[in-house]
Amino acid sequence: MCLNTNDIAPNPSHFEDSEETATPAHRDIAWNDYKDLIKGMRFFDPHIHMVSRTTDDYQAMHQAGIVALIEPAFWVGQPRTGLSSFKDYYSSLVGWERFRSSQFGIKHYCTMGLNSREANNEPLAEQVMEILPLYIYKEGVVGVGEIGFDDQTPAEEKYYRLQLELAKKAKLPVQIHTPHRDKKKGTERSMAIALEHGIDPSWVIVDHNNEETVKSVLDKGFWAAFTIYPFTKMGNERMVKVVEQYGPERIMVNSAADWGISDPLAIPKTAALMKMRGISDETIRLVTYQNAIDAFGKSGQIDVTDFESGYAIDHTEKFHGNSILRGGQQPVPAKDSLVIN
């Protein structure tokens, strides 16, 4: 992903913000020196694209206390040319990626939807809508998402509305991606349309907020999610200020880590920073764990006993329950060792 966001990048991240100038505010605070501050805390990342991340990320996330995550269906960078690639992608979200995550001790949920960018390919979008119902009822699908606006075209609006209806019928929360360009207007428009369809705002998570959008989102009764993403979105110091100003109610933090320069440890790092700045443990727990569970838990698909005491990773344990074999979880290699066994 291009660091100078004023350039038109040939392959921008799915939420690169071209209106904002990159002003990275570096501080010499080393994560290693501060990670003890959050020892014992549990985190839930309600927006992260693990298909684009490595096993190293999974291991680091597990070590940092992330016990569960939500992977929203999105645009993978390479445009899809047919229905089969959508099917394979959706299947991987509930199949291989979910399994892969479990191997690293992290409970994996997802949201299913047709992303706004690809909604513009109408002939394909039409086909996708036909198979989407087979996916949204699957186990561990906690919402319809991430849907909403990108360029704010009529096609985007059409498929956004159709998917809102789908969510209503399936009794699922909605995860809204707000646009990079013309964000404020796009956010307002997304919320107005959701209300127009009679959707209860407490069932809608509006994502990628910033200081400019948060007040209106909260005032209308929606959940406000914040993406901590280096250079182009919220920095976590700004996030601390938002929490200081608005408190923890209906606010949640996510990493939205993807193929761009992003950070899968955004949540634990933000929690450590909040702790340093004197924010209470309870507030930290709400914005980095509980609120996401409460919002997406309306799907009926989140059972906290699956992860609240952490997934047990016992590499020697072969059996689970009634002669059902475990998958054989990934052993943790000694990364500091020159010798590879």
Binding site: V94, G95, W96, G321
Partner: protein, 282 residues
């Protein structure tokens, strides 16, 4: 597929569901094909998450209908999904195959487990051969287990090549081979020799193979395998020595029995029946 199996499965479902759960299942089974398929997907949203209870008579009835078929240890969701599949009308082969293929194509892990577990009760068994061998290639443990363990489909339909892959991958994944249906029936010389090669690789890497895998070797004993037996008799692991004794005893080859005779205590416990392969099943 027989109507008896459908009824057998339903009897077990009734025993494990509330009235409203059973009613939901029957309604969905009686509706359109697409509704039935959506019910297959949505089952966990309407049924409780639990492991089913089954009595011995029911298990016996299943086995009488399809030898080796068992639902023991299944979740209610898996059982219900398999039953829903038996409710798909197979009379139009093209439609039937297309619908099952769509379910495979769009399946998540637990759905795949149910689909593979259902293979012994699906119509047109030859149609699913590619899917079944593909499951053996799966790196998702539960999917692999669903085809490889406690499933009578592979014994009945796999070629020797596919069968040997299944057994070898079970060994490779450190899973217990005694859960494979038809293990003894389909033992063959090629498999025994490949096992020997595999064990040599493991030994060269300073690793080991589970002792019970040598039950595949006894009937095909030759000089290569005899050398492996000697290696096992020399092992520090007591299970390895027991496996060598049992495999030698399974062989009709005289040199195997001469070798076994060198280890008097082991020979005695094997010949007396005090030691059996079942002792190594872990």
């Amino acid at each position: 597929m027989s109507d008896i199996i459908k009824q057998n499965l339903w009897d077990i479902i009734v025993l494990n569901t509330s009235e409203s759960e059973a009613e939901w299942l029957q309604n969905r089974a009686a509706s359109s094909r697409m509704d039935l398929m959506t019910a297959f997907v949505a089952a966990p949203r309407f049924l409780s998450k639990k492991i089913i209870f089954i009595n011995q008579d029911q298990q016996f009835a299943l086995n009488a209908e399809i030898p080796g078929f068992s639902v023991e240890g299944w979740s209610l969701v898996r059982l219900a999904r398999v039953w829903l599949l038996t409710q798909l009308d197979p009379s139009d082969k093209e439609d039937y195959v297309k619908d099952i293929e769509t379910l495979f194509d769009t399946a998540e892990m637990n759905e795949l487990v149910a689909l593979y577990a259902a293979l012994p009760v699906l119509s047109y068994p030859d149609q699913w051969l590619f899917r079944a061998t593909d499951a053996v290639r799966s790196n998702m443990g539960f999917v692999f287990d669903a085809i490889a363990l406690h499933n009578p489909y592979p014994e009945k339909h796999f070629s020797e090549l596919a069968w040997n892959q299944l057994v070898l991958k079970t060994i490779f994944n450190d899973k217990p081979i005694h859960f494979i249906e038809g293990l003894d029936n389909r033992a063959n010389e090629k498999l025994a020799m490949t096992l020997s090669d595999f064990a040599h690789e493991r030994w060269a890497a300073g690793r080991s193979v589970p002792a019970q895998v040598w039950r595949l070797a006894g009937r095909f004993m030759n000089t290569t395998l005899l050398a492996d037996m000697q290696h096992l008799f020399d092992s520090e692991q007591v299970d390895d020595r027991k496996a060598a004794a049992l495999a030698c005893n399974d062989s009709s080859l005289a040199p195997a029995h001469y070798l076994l005779a060198k280890y008097i205590d082991l020979e005695k416990s094997v010949k007396s029946g005090a030691l059996a392969w079942a002792d190594l099943e872990h």
